[in-house]
């Protein structure tokens, strides 16, 4: 028992060390590349670090940027683990944001923040979940693969949001597709004054832990993993495959929708249809975090840290393009993948059944 626990801690520790080493190596390379392109390397590194974690405010904006990524990452992670290839977090995120904005700017019945904020958040999550269920319905009853319908539904959601933002939800006095600003009393409260630490961050972290417990410690989590690895086996074991897939899709879409709701209520306070590619980035976050909710927390934090720092460097006199952050993310993911793939190959080839295999990702 203790030996097993020790082994688990050891393997987790080596994984984290490896990740830190890879990130460090890639960051060094990136700064070297910046030097080659003619930017002063030390100043870039300095600005980047200070911009992302140099003060409480900087740290809070990194966390606030990581928050929607964490939720869309969880959305992708939960679904992929159960073999539901939900590429539609982007659309579900938008639907969640749209409903949250509608509820918080157009709700006429009550004006109590204590009621409006939870209703808007829950409404956003429900909207995301329902949007996901459309795809699952099409898969189950009309044989349209989820991968396909979620991609197409992302575009439908985009134009639907634009139509609403230029129609019933449009702000007075603009021609752009943009909602009015949400009244200050409906903003998510901050838990550290004068920063971006809003309670949505705590909510997202809590949800990640909850999902971890759900996946690792409940029958539901076990069954959904079996469904993901082999639906045939799951059916033979009399697991409710279809029902599990619908539940997983609803949870996944709900996470993404909640991400959208939190983003508008906590961070940007108004809505346009182009609020960033959080949904697509969430896929990368989930996969870098190995589909484990706790790993997804780390990878979302890493992404948020990189993005925030990169924007500060771009705003400075150096004007290094912030897209550098995306390049770094891509290289980190590729290197980690190759390391994992090769180590899995080696451990299996030597014929070592005891070695811990990394989480399997589903095949298309």
């Amino acid at each position: 028992m203790i030996r097993r626990l020790f082994k688990r801690i050891w393997s987790a520790a080596t994984a984290v060390t490896l990740a830190v080493l890879v990130c460090g190596a890639v960051l060094t390379l990136a700064i070297g590349a910046a030097a080659l392109l003619g930017y002063p390397p030390l100043r870039v590194a300095d600005l980047w670090l200070h911009g992302a974690a140099g003060s409480w405010y900087a740290l809070s904006s990194s966390c606030a940027d990581a928050c929607p990524l964490l939720l869309t990452g969880l959305a992708a992670g939960v679904a992929f683990r159960a073999g539901v290839l939900n590429i539609g977090a982007q659309g579900q995120f938008l639907m969640g944001a749209l409903v949250a904005v509608a509820l918080s700017t157009r709700m006429m019945i009550c004006h109590q923040p204590v009621l409006v904020i939870p209703i808007a958040l829950i409404g956003g999550a429900l909207a995301g979940g329902m949007w996901g269920l459309i795809a699952q319905y099409l898969e189950r009853y009309r044989s349209v693969p989820v991968v396909l319908s979620t991609i197409l539904l992302n575009f439908v959601a985009l134009y639907l949001a634009e139509a609403a933002l230029q129609g019933p939800l449009q702000a007075v006095g603009t021609a752009a597709a943009q909602s009015p600003e949400i009244a200050g009393k409906y903003w998510l409260p901050l838990f550290v004054a004068y920063t971006d630490f809003h309670i949505g961050i705590i909510l997202a972290l809590g949800l990640a832990v909850l999902l971890w417990v759900l996946q690792e410690r409940t029958v539901f989590g076990f069954e959904s993993q079996v469904v993901g690895l082999n639906p045939g086996t799951a059916k033979a074991m009399r697991m409710p495959v279809t029902w599990r897939q619908f539940q997983i899709m609803f949870i996944s879409g709900g996470c993404a929708g909640l991400g959208g709701a939190i983003q508008v209520l906590g961070q940007v306070h108004f809505m346009t249809a182009h609020m960033g590619n959080y949904g697509y980035a969430g896929i990368a976050v989930a996969l870098l975090g190995r589909l484990n909710p706790l790993g997804i927390i780390l990878s979302a934090g890493f992404f948020g840290f990189l993005d925030t720092g990169a924007f500060r460097v771009e705003e400075s006199s150096l004007a290094l393009p912030h897209d550098m952050a995306n390049v770094i993310k891509a290289v980190v993911i590729l290197v980690m993948l190759v390391l994992a793939g090769i180590s899995l190959w080696r451990s299996r080839r030597v014929g070592n059944p005891g070695s811990s295999a990394p989480t399997e990702t589903p095949s298309a």
């Binding site: 693969p145 396909l148 197409l152 697509y280 393009p321 891509a330 290289v331 590729l334 298309a364």
Partner: protein, 328 residues
């Protein structure tokens, strides 16, 4: 020439123009998937093709050089992807999303630095006059009524795409090479036993796919628009992925899907414009519909078509399974 004929001519020509880059990228993606490798990052490769074609054309003044540069860039992206997935045994879906990020990031970076550089030198960032491509009109044939202009008043790359489709279809279905490509994705063990080098074969397929996606990017930036904007592909790469499944991994299905998508798209654009000028009361009533609902139409139509056809095809069996596979 009556109005109906004009309308059909216009719509079909627009549809083919819009469908060409999707067909081009789709043929590459199809060959890659048939050989057992799915590349989700096709969007990133297309973006790299866009920026490479645009900057190289801007600097040299020759569109052809830009096109070649885009093809080469697409192949470089393919080499990275192949190295990670085939030799590094990385998961293809994850590596694909990373390639997408890489394409978005690198193209955005290059675009910003290119702008700064040109402005410091005192040049405009627009393409030099006459260096972008314009449609090539084929004499006589383009006068065929109805569908003549759709096929014979297109960009140079469109004609190449048509040739490519015919060659690819013939190769895939009627030659030994095509058999090998399909076997790579359906029975790699058999290929191995027959002396075909599986990873090398898949890499070559990926190289072809990268070249196609790069050329499709060039089509968008130096032919169709003569401009570059960050994220200018606007999800077209993902639509291509969807259309490959839509066509059930068959080339005619893919081409049909792309043309259908292009046709609905040009139809909605025409409807949007026509509803304000038309005297027809039905058309005029459409002025109250927000224009976003028209933009939504191709995607809704694609979903509806899939839901109605309702037949599942599993696709190549060894997609996203690294070679040599682990014995359990």
């Amino acid at each position: 020439m009556n109005t109906t004929q004009n309308l059909i001519t216009f719509l079909s020509r627009q549809a083919v123009t819009a469908a060409t880059p999707m067909i081009l990228a789709g043929v590459g993606e199809l060959v890659g998937e048939l050989s057992g490798v799915i590349n989700i990052g096709i969007e990133g490769t297309m973006l790299m093709g866009c920026i490479a074609a645009y900057t190289v054309t801007g600097v040299t003044g020759y569109g052809t050089v830009g096109l070649l540069a885009a093809v080469a860039t697409g192949m470089v992206m393919a080499v990275i992807f192949a190295a990670a997935t085939l030799w590094g045994r990385a998961d293809q879906i994850v590596a694909g999303t990373a390639m997408d990020l890489l394409g978005v990031g690198l193209s955005g970076m290059i675009w910003m630095m290119y702008q700064n550089w040109r402005e410091n030198l005192g040049f405009s960032t627009a393409l030099p006059h006459g260096s972008g491509f314009s449609p090539v009109v084929i004499p006589l044939l383009h006068e065929i009524p109805y569908l003549g202009p759709a096929v014979f008043e297109q960009y140079m790359l469109c004609y190449l795409t048509i040739c490519l489709c015919v060659v690819a279809w013939w190769t895939l279905n009627h030659t030994r090479l095509g058999l090998i490509i399909r076997a790579l994705g359906d029975a790699p063990e058999a290929c191995h036993a027959a002396g075909v080098r599986v990873r090398l074969g898949r890499s070559l397929c990926l190289l072809f796919a990268g070249a196609c996606a790069g050329a499709a990017g060039a089509y968008l930036s130096i032919m169709q628009t003569h401009a570059f904007a960050s994220d200018m592909t606007g999800g077209e790469g993902f639509v291509v992925l969807a259309l490959v499944i839509f066509g059930r991994w068959k080339l005619p299905g893919l081409v049909g899907g792309c043309l259908f998508f292009g046709l609905i798209n040009s139809l909605q654009q025409t409807l949007q414009a026509a509803r304000y000028t038309s005297q027809n009361s039905v058309l005029h009533a459409l002025t109250h519909v927000p224009f976003q609902f028209f933009q939504m139409l191709p995607y809704v139509a694609a979903i509806a078509a899939l839901a109605v056809m309702s037949r599942k095809s599993p696709g190549p069996r060894y997609i996203n399974i690294p070679w040599p596979s682990i014995k359990t």
